[in-house]
């Protein structure tokens, strides 16, 4: 008897995209360095989650936005090989531009229709300085933009949580507020582990589930008492 029927087998790609604000305000009170540290610290946990599910190929990249936007890590990189290079802060907050760039990458092609729902993590401390709505529209015009798991982290009290809520697109899921480095670490770790795990083995969902909740979002970890008194942003 011949060998197994069919072509090359492959696990399903899961695209995980950090969308990071590096506007000038991120340079105050150590925000940008806290963000760099938090993502770097989360990577080993992220790899461990990916290792637990060999049927998902976790591919990570990062986009940075300030005056305009550009890919910080452009190639979808296997999580085992992904390295974080520190961001530096300057410029304004062109979030709309960034979302347009993400939308381009979520088209089919280059995306495949057999992928798992992508995870988009938006981290920002400010208010958009360009046409955010146009960027969001472009993102939501793409099927993978609509099906993506969209998580937002607000750094400090000046972050525009209404804009972040619009990005998330579902009232049951709120932006995560980080007013100190510990909270930021906690949120980044949660999205890199619990959310990634949920997205990497999602059960089928009937099409009439609420938009944006096609992947069950796990409960967020509870804020510690120490974090509450350490707010600096």
């Amino acid at each position: 008897m011949a060998i197994r029927p069919g072509g090359e087998l492959a696990t399903r790609p899961l695209h995980f995209i950090w969308i990071t604000d590096r506007s000038g305000s991120m340079s105050t009170d150590g925000k940008i360095q806290a963000l760099n540290n938090a993502i770097r610290e989360a990577l080993p946990h992220m790899r461990a989650v990916a290792d637990d599910n060999p049927n998902a190929e976790v591919l990570v990249r990062a986009l940075r936005f300030s005056s305009g936007a550009e890919w910080h890590v452009a190639a979808p990189t296997p999580v085992a090989d992904f390295k974080w290079v520190d961001l530096t802060a300057h410029g304004v907050t062109d979030l709309g531009y960034a979302l347009n760039m993400v939308a381009e990458q979520l088209r089919i092609p280059p995306m495949t229709d057999r992928a798992l729902p992508p995870v988009l993590v938006l981290i920002s401390d400010g208010q958009p300085t360009d046409d955010f709505n146009a960027g969001l529209q472009a993102l939501m015009a793409e099927p993978w933009g609509r099906k993506a798991v969209r998580i937002a982290i607000a750094i400090g009290e000046d972050a525009d949580t209404e804009v972040l809520q619009q990005f998330i697109g579902h009232p049951e899921l709120k932006p995560l507020q980080a007013n100190n480095p510990e909270a930021l670490v906690r949120h980044i770790k949660w999205v890199s582990t619990a959310v990634l795990k949920s997205a990497s083995s999602p059960a089928s969902q009937a099409g009439d589930v609420p938009a944006g909740l096609n992947v069950p979002i796990p409960a967020t970890p509870v804020e510690t008492d120490r974090e509450k008194v350490d707010d600096v942003w």
Binding site: M1, A2, R4, P5, G6, G7, E8, L9, A10, T11, R12, N53, P54, N55, A56, I108, T112, D113, R114, A115, L116, P117, P143, W144, K147, E172, S201, P202, A203, S204, Q205, A206, G207, D208, V209, P210, N214, V215, P216
Partner: protein
């Protein structure tokens, strides 16, 4: 009249084995009374937290296909059958499935433990839609002497192979179904989500028809790799017969799940009896052996 041989296999997904979940697919092959029509039915229970009885829902879905077998036994013109398949059948299948779900719910009411596993939104969704707990897809192929039709509600794949080895999809891909979202028998107006293609068999019917739950196609790097499954199976059956394929199919599906999607995989296949050269060879050696080789 064209004679058909069939086979079926279903394997628990690699990811389900790791997490302790059961196989939530179901499959059934039914011959209509009189043996002239053949029905392949597959279902893929959603397996989400809200669809906590989808393993049962999938079994009830393929059981509903028996209604189809009875209907195909009744005399009717091709025009009548086509209209019924396109307009009435989806409604009848959904109704039959819902009746079975309601019987199941009456016999085994939802327990406190099942409810406790849901969040508030999940409980509200279940209140609004009691069929949600049993959510599943349904793929159905009906093969009769003068026609074949394909019905799909939800994700999954149906391929046909011609005598020349050309692979086709009788139903075009549903662009809405990417990621893990699917249309479902549990949707409020599920019959509107069913897609049906009816083909009159004026000439030679397809050599092989393959239906599979989505875990199979998702295990290949691309569409071409999945289509190759149907072509390879057609060539294997043609060259070596159906029985060796039957004996290895589960192993192939398990391998695909392990190195591919991780999902449950279920396949139902019908091939024209005359492409199975092994039967001809057996008939030459022992005239009684070929008839005994029929799988249904």
């Amino acid at each position: 009249m064209t004679a058909w041989r069939t086979l079926q296999a279903s394997v628990r997904g690699a990811a389900h084995r790791r997490s302790g979940l059961p196989n939530q697919d179901a499959v059934r092959i039914v011959r209509a009374p009189g043996g002239q029509a053949l029905i392949l039915a597959l279902a893929d229970g959603h397996g989400s937290a809200r669809c906590f009885r989808s393993q049962v829902g999938a079994k009830l879905a393929v059981a509903s296909a028996r209604r189809l077998a009875r209907r195909l036994h009744e005399p009717a013109s091709l025009t009548q059958i086509k209209r019924w398949a396109e307009e009435q059948l989806p409604v009848e299948l959904v109704r039959s499935w819902r009746e079975r779900v309601e019987q199941s719910l009456a016999r085994y009411p939802i327990t406190e433990a099942e409810l406790a596993a849901l969040d508030l939104a999940g409980r509200r969704a279940l209140d609004a839609n009691p069929w949600l707990a049993y959510g599943t897809t349904l793929l159905t192929v009906a093969i009769a002497p003068t026609f074949v039709f394909f019905l799909q509600l939800g994700d999954g794949d149906i391929l046909t192979v011609s005598d020349e080895g050309q692979v086709d999809r009788p139903l075009p891909p549903d662009e809405r179904l990417i990621g893990n979202e699917t249309t479902s028998l549990c949707s409020h107006q599920a019959w509107k989500e069913a897609r049906v293609t009816f083909q009159t068999l004026a000439g030679v019917p397809p050599a092989l028809i393959l239906a599979a739950t989505d875990g199979y196609a998702n295990s290949f790097r691309d569409e071409g790799g999945f289509r190759q499954v149907a072509r390879d199976l057609w060539a294997m059956i043609r060259d070596e017969g159906l029985d060796p394929v039957q004996s290895q199919l589960k192993g192939w599906l398990s391998e695909a799940s392990e190195f591919g999607s991780g999902d449950d995989i279920t396949v139902a296949l019908a091939c024209r009896r005359d492409i199975d050269r092994a039967i001809d060879a057996a008939a030459i050696r022992d005239p009684g052996a070929a008839e005994g080789a029929e799988s249904e």
